[in-house]
Every structure is written in C-alpha cells, then in structure tokens.
Subunit: 155 residues, 2 copies
Amino acid sequence: MSILSDSIEDFIKELMSEEEGTAELQRNELAQRFNCAPSQINYVLTTRFSPNRGYTTQSRRGGGGYIRVIRLNLDRRDYIAQIIDQSLNESINMRQGAEVIEGLAQTGAIGGGIKKVMLAAISDKALSAVPEYRNKLRSSVLKEMLTSILIREDD
Amino acid sequence: MSILSDSIEDFIKELMSEEEGTAELQRNELAQRFNCAPSQINYVLTTRFSPNRGYTTQSRRGGGGYIRVIRLNLDRRDYIAQIIDQSLNESINMRQGAEVIEGLAQTGAIGGGIKKVMLAAISDKALSAVPEYRNKLRSSVLKEMLTSILIREDD
DNA sequence: TTAAATTGAAGGTCAAAGAAAGTCAAAGAT
DNA sequence: ATCTTTGACTTTCTTTGACCTTCAATTTAA
C-alpha cells in the first residue's frame, strides 16, 4: 500500500532532519533504493517540495551531479512566504508586482539594493522578448527571487 | 564523489590566496597531482576562471612553460558596464549567466543577497513559462538588473 | 663561429564518451 | 477524475585522448 511518493517524501524529510534543513541526494541512487524510475524522484520533488510547501530545490547535472532540497526559512519572515503562496500563483502586472516589492521594502524584508534589482527584473523592458506571457513570467520571476531570499544564508 | 574539477578549482584558489591574486602553475605537474588528463586543467580554467567570472589567464608553451591565473581587479561600475555592453547583447544560457553573476560576486561588485536574487531571476525555473525564448529573456532580465545597479542613488 | 635545423618539452583544441539530472506524455491506480 | 508511476528522449556537465602549436635548448653545417 504505502504510496511510493509518500515513502520517498518521508525519506527525504528524514535526511533533512539529520542535517540542518537541507538534504543532498543523488537521483539515480535514490531511485534505486526505492526501486522506481528516476523521474519518480522529480515527481516527488515537484509535488511535495515546492515553494508553496516551504521548500525549494537546487541541482546540478553531469558527473558529480546532485539534487539539494532546502527547507525555507519560514519562521521569521512568513510575510514573504505568504506572498509566494497567495499572490504569485497567477500572472501579475507591473503595478501589482511593484506593490509587492514596495511592501517588502517598507517592512524591511528587503533592502534598497535588492529592491532595485527586483523591480528591474520584472520590468516590461526586461520581459520584452515575449509580450504575450509577460505577466505570467513576471510572477514566475518574482516568485523565484523571493524564494531565493528565504534560503538560509550560510549555504 | 568530490568532483575533480571542483577540487582543482579549490586548489588553484588556494594558491591564489597565498600569493596576491595570481597563481602560477604547470599544467602537466598539476594534472599529475590530480591524476587526470592535462586537458582537464584547461577545462577547469575555461569553466571556472573565465573573464566572466572575474579571472584571466596567461600562458607560455615550450620548455619552462607555465600558466598564470589572474584575478581581475576592476572598478565596479566599469566592470558592470563592460558586461552589459559585451556579454549581454546575445542570448545567454544559464551557465553563462551564472558565470557573469559569479564574477560580479567574486570581485565584490555585488553582495551575496543580490547574487542570490539574480541567480533566481534568470533561472530556468523562473523562465519556465516560455522555454523557447529562455536564453533571450535571460540576457534581457540580467541586463536590466545590472543596469539598475548602475543607476546612482545610494548603494 | 654562427645560423639554421632538430628535438623535446611545454601548453592548446576539439570531439567523443560518460555521468548525471530534466521533461513530457502515456499508462496505471484509487 | 485525479494522482502516481514509468520510460523514452533531452539537456547539461565532466573527463579523456588523440592530435596540433609554440618555444627553448641543442645539435649540425657552412
């Protein structure tokens, strides 16, 4: 019974509790351990370890490749987490994006330098290559940027 | 596992910290030390010590030949302007983008916070909405972010 | 006694093989 | 219906080896 995905999820969380909020794994090795297709691991990662659920992932391909699963720092800055969860699932226009960023700056969640960079990243100019998807992209880019600052600094 | 390339990179940086921002090495000797093909050294140099990452190399062949790795020490604003001008007119892939950002961080042109945000902004994940234009978008977003830094106010 | 030829010792290039991880759509379960 | 699972195919990164170029030292020939 015990759904495969759930077992893998538990296993990764187990790993993560031993280390400090991160787990580093090798996709093929893990797939072998659970006797499943490697892409199953990706499925678990996207369904169980998404930013909305308080996680993000980093990875590297090729020899010595790995997948790192990182638990986001939600305790102190859950304002940001809330935005990721609530405001950035749909597409957003420039005004809405700027409002979000301004709000973060006002509350001191981000500094002036990062504010400038973020505004630039979601500007129409930056996304001009694909006018049709602009707003979708904008929320996507902003979401990733916010997620990145929820990753603990030490790394 | 400990990826060979990473070890060699670390070793060269170690050398460089002892001397003042330069390291002089012999390709064959280094290859022997790491038990690898000499061309592996070239691979590390081109992927880890490129101009985009804030380094250059000089070398001489023949008897008594050597390779010298030099960390660039450029004025921050000039450096950024140069990258905008030279590296961001074409579309760039993630690797190239990360190189540029890494170079900026290495030379102290940007801090760790901005580095993280920038890497997130140009990641495949952030731009996943439109795979076809990814690389074009990536250079566009990065260009706007760097430009924003050059706008004088504070920071 | 040189000036040219040879040799050996570097480093450079490139393409192919190998080693991961990512994507996506179709098939299976619940 | 929706969530899981799989497998074929793709992309990215690393490592190696065969072959090329450059340079300095040494030998050779005038």
